[in-house]
Symmetry: none
Subunit: 195 residues, 4 copies
DNA sequence: AATGAATGAGGGTTCATTCAT
DNA sequence: GATGAATGAACCCTCATTCAT
């Protein structure tokens, strides 16, 4: 159990993470200075250095925090009772509520981290997201929505890519009217279903 | 016609653009200093300021240069005689030789510019790329490769997205073995072809 | 009360102001770089930026500092017991000890600030200097040294002008031998006293 | 006599001087770059360096040009037939037509040059202005306007100072309503005339 | 003689990070 | 443990001046 000290410590750490996350998402990682984060979190710059060792490590921390926060939502969705195609739609088109307008750079900074081996984010991803995806596509295959000859990696890549893309504000706005078509292509390809 | 002066001027300008492009693509726009570009282009910093007025304008210039350079390749491909599916594959999977390893930030900086109205890049894109795409997909529809009910925008979005994604080194490496599956999904969707 | 922190802070701030003042007075504002000020004040450039936000604001600060420093001397003189003509002479001819060699540009930069409405310097001037001058010339009129028909503004203008002029090193040197005549002109005009 | 070459050369030199003078007077010496002068004079930067060796020397040249231009006006005034007090008034209060709004810094840069021994300006001043002033004050003494006990230097200094001061735009505006009083003090001092 | 091109040196400013209390 | 103070390094940009044609 945590005592009062540790609890307060944890709280302060989270304040910093929240402040940094908000700023990163709005302005991008490089444009946000430690000083600004400190100000927004109501701590001194040095306190940030006490909790995280460098901006680099803080940034990693923020990524982890963000992933953990969102992967919970993801888990819920997967386990819910709505039909398979609806799940897919939501994965692709639902922007996370916390990131109404996520900053490009932050997102891709994250994606890069995400690709690097051996970091927290990768770990969380592999431990949590992957199994859920596997489960989801098993479900899809059983219900005839997914071609069983396709490798799971390929499908996963495709979903990730779409999801990613939808995170971008300018894309999201442009593509919203095309939702039906986009979904159709995802399920039936550009050749379309034979009916 | 250009005299010796102008020719040399044009050459130097291109040297700078090339140097900047290479560095931007490798490290991103913000991480590359004018001084580094100058060094790589074998000119002094000030020379850069003589040709381009600021880093902002240089960056714009680099974007334009890049787009022009690549749109030529694109044009050639569209007009070539290879079969439709092969063209699509090449558009999606062939990384431009000049961008062996395109840097995220540069690419999205570019895409942002790209979205802004009234700039050179937008102009080139609308004037050159769009009509070619239209032509390409007409060809596809005629040959039965493309569902005629799908809006051109939706298809375009998919191609762009895939193309974009393949520009990323880390993605490229991972996805290469999945090329067949990805292409299949693009053409036939995750449900797969009915045969 | 100030604690040790604040006291040291105040001290350092004053060090910077002193260094800047000295350099501004010798070489003018534009010719003096932040780096030189930092060196003279034995701090790093950035420390200056921590105390004052920009060169512009530092310069303003230096003006305020200078004005405050000199207005105290002025107050003392006005309240002292020496005869009226002697006070006038001292106001005009006594160079402030801190400005052995005041640089033109600094001085006129200051005078410009001085003219701008709503700044500290104007405020100090209006609140402190003007009333004292008024009092001084009342005294002068009572003692028959000042023509009661003259507007206070006109007299003030003359004193200011003479005072200003004497601040210039090259003028000061040339005019010193003429002190008596200058004073005479001030009191009796170029027509001279009727005796 | 000048041939065509030399005439054109002279013309170009004057173009440069005029351009520089105008810019110096509006923005001050330090804020105006050689490049700006070149642009305004429609020549290349290097041409300026061909005529004048450095910015320093150009500046000197501009001062000389300015002085010569204005000293002619002065000469005319001294020799005109208007009464003595009116001449004084004009000297003090008439701003030179060419400098409706002379920039502080340029003016004082000039005054500093002016004070330095052995330069063109000093030379022109000593050769032309001084004798005229002497003549003027002889006239004043003869007509009873000037106290014969006052040294010429002192009077000269006083006039110069007033003239100088009036050149400043912000002073000029403020003091204009006080013209009568200022003139009175100049002639009769702050004690005023005995009537 | 005149110019377009090029540059070294320096200026103000910002930032991640460390020091000292 | 937390903070205010301090800093070295770097960045973008400007300018007087020189080079090469």
């Amino acid at each position: 159990m945590m005592d009062g000290f540790q609890r307060r410590r944890e709280q302060k750490k989270q304040d910093i993470l929240e402040a940094a996350l908000a700023l990163f998402m709005e302005y991008g990682v490089q444009k946000v200075s430690i000083s600004e984060i400190a100000q927004k979190a109501n701590v001194s710059q040095v306190t940030i250095y006490n909790y995280f060792e460098s901006k680099q490590k803080l940034t990693s921390g923020v990524f982890g925090y963000y992933i953990k926060k969102t992967s919970d939502d993801f888990e819920k969705l997967i386990h819910s009772n709505i039909p398979f195609p609806e799940k897919i739609k939501q994965i692709i088109f639902n922007k996370k509520e916390i990131s109404k307008q996520i900053h490009e750079e932050f997102y891709h900074f994250m994606m890069k981290e995400y690709a690097t081996e051996g970091n927290i984010i990768e770990k969380i991803y592999v431990e949590k997201a992957l199994p859920y995806f596997a489960k989801l596509f098993e479900e899809g295959k059983e219900q005839g929505y997914v071609n069983p000859n396709l490798s799971q990696e390929a499908i996963l890549f495709y979903v990730q890519m779409l999801k990613d893309y939808m995170q971008r504000e300018e894309v999201y706005q442009k593509v919203l009217p095309l939702t039906e078509d986009i979904t159709n292509i995802f399920f039936y390809g550009i050749i379309g279903k034979k009916e």
